[in-house]
Structure formats: C-alpha cells, structure tokens
C-alpha cells in the first residue's frame, strides 16, 4: 500500500497534470506554436508545484507517523511536532535535489544515497529533476539563460513529459525509502 501522499500524486495531482496535457492538444490556430510554448511553460510550473507538494506531503505524513510512534509526554508533544516541520525548505522552496536531501535528512538518513541504493536509475532522475527546477526558475523569473538551459530558450512538450516521468518514478522510490527508513527508526512501517 503506498503512502497517502503518493496516492494523491497518482490521482488528483495526475488529473491536474493530465488536464494541461489536454490543453496542449487543444491548442490550434495560426499562432499554434507560440500558444503551445505558453502551455508547455505552464505545464512546467504546474509539474514543479505538484512535485513540491508531493514531497512536502510525504515528509509531513512521515513526521506525523514518527511523532505518533515516539508518543512524547503531553506538554512536549507540540514542541516535538514543531521541531520536525518548522523551517522546511519544501514549504517555500523548489523541489530541488538539494532541498529534498536537506528536508528528508532531518529524519536521520541520506536521501540520495538511499534512493541510489533503492533504484540505480535515481541518479538520472535526479538530473532530470534539476533540469525541471532550472526551467521552472527561468519561466517564473522570465530569465532564459541558454547556458543554464541546455543551450535552448524554448521548453518542449517532450521535456516536460520526461521530467514528469522522472518525478513519478522518484515518487515511488521516495515512498519506499521513507517507509523503510521509518520502519528502521521506530520499528513500525508507516504504510
């Protein structure tokens, strides 16, 4: 059984992303190429936003399980809860590999090391996630530096699909790694 966060990624978050794919197909007219580029840019922002949401959800779901298992005494319960989630990079920052590693590292393991052990393809997915975040920033700040964007200034639908595929695979690996790490930490698997 996957985490609730991953189930949300596979259902309502996937539906939202599918809708923008459908919008891409619906684009027509004389300025189709220009309009399609706008949709690709919107798709990139939406994908980054939903993956950030998935990662934040998964972290908070994990922290909720941990505190439930630790069962600190009542006066400390709130204080302990705060310490697990205050200042999360994923609350306001992009889902960069570094931000993911920093936040999940607060649970006591090296995320990207564990992801690599879980699936050897994680290294390639990490590169695609970094590319997604680079493009997301370029679009959000309208700052298209070809030197940072694979010598291009236009994002292609194939790019976004490739990043989405990497995010979906990373969601599955994150789900498994966090489950196994929490099981090792407190002796009870969260999902």
């Amino acid at each position: 059984m996957p985490s609730r966060s991953r189930r949300k990624w596979l259902t309502e978050r996937a539906e939202a992303l599918d809708e923008i794919e459908a919008a891409h197909r619906a684009v027509g007219g004389r300025r189709r190429r220009h309009a399609a580029q706008q949709v690709n840019q919107a798709y990139t922002l939406l994908l980054s936003s939903h993956f950030q949401g998935l990662c934040r959800d998964l972290y908070c779901e994990a922290a909720d399980h941990l505190v439930a298992q630790l069962a600190p005494p009542a006066p400390l319960w709130w204080v302990v809860r705060e310490q697990f989630t205050v200042g999360l990079k994923l609350n306001h920052g992009n889902p960069t590999p570094g931000n993911l590693g920093a936040d999940f590292g607060r649970l006591g393991f090296k995320l990207w090391h564990e992801l690599a052990l879980q699936d050897a393809r994680s290294a390639g997915r990490k590169l695609r996630l970094k590319a997604l975040c680079d493009w997301r920033n370029a679009i959000a700040h309208h700052d298209f530096d070809p030197g940072k964007l694979d010598e291009r200034t236009r994002v292609r639908l194939a790019d976004v699909r490739s990043w989405r595929s990497a995010c979906t695979a990373l969601a599955a690996s994150l789900d498994a790694v966090v489950r196994d790490q929490l099981h090792a930490l407190v002796g009870v698997a969260p999902w």
């Binding site: 609730r4 949300k8 909720d64 006066p75 709130w78 809860r81 705060e82 205050v86």
Partner: protein, 72 residues
C-alpha cells in the same frame, strides 16, 4: 451535526509546552496523516520578547481549537 473541518485562514489555539499559542492556518494538506487525519500548516508570530519571528509548522487539525473561523 457534522463537525466543520479546519480551513485555511482560521485562527486557532493550541497548547505548547507549558503555555498556549494562537496561530493562523496557512495550508491544508488534506487527510494524509495517521489514520487519515487532516494535517495543516499553521503560522505563529512570536512576541517581540521572543524574537518576533514567524514560524510555520505542521499539526493535526483535530488537535486545534478554532477561535476565529475564516469568513471564506
């Protein structure tokens, strides 16, 4: 009567150590917590004597007391 779920914008109160804090709900993560309980992020502004900073952290909605529901 159905219990109203905590919503973004609600002002809430909760115990904290040996004191009590008030906060604003700023993000609803939905029913993803243990046994499907609703998790939310709250924003707390501390007093000037305690640094005057703003902290955001995640709590189960069921543990919060709504003291000023959002109008929305």
């Amino acid at each position: 009567m159905a219990v109203r779920s905590v919503r973004v914008g609600d002002k809430v109160r909760f115990p904290y150590g040996t004191t009590e804090l008030t906060a604003r709900v700023v993000r609803d993560l939905g029913p993803i917590g243990v046994d499907g309980r609703q998790l939310v992020f709250v924003s707390v502004r501390s007093d000037e004597d305690e640094g005057g900073d703003v902290r955001e952290f995640c709590l189960p909605a069921e543990a919060l007391t709504v003291i000023e529901p959002t109008a929305a």
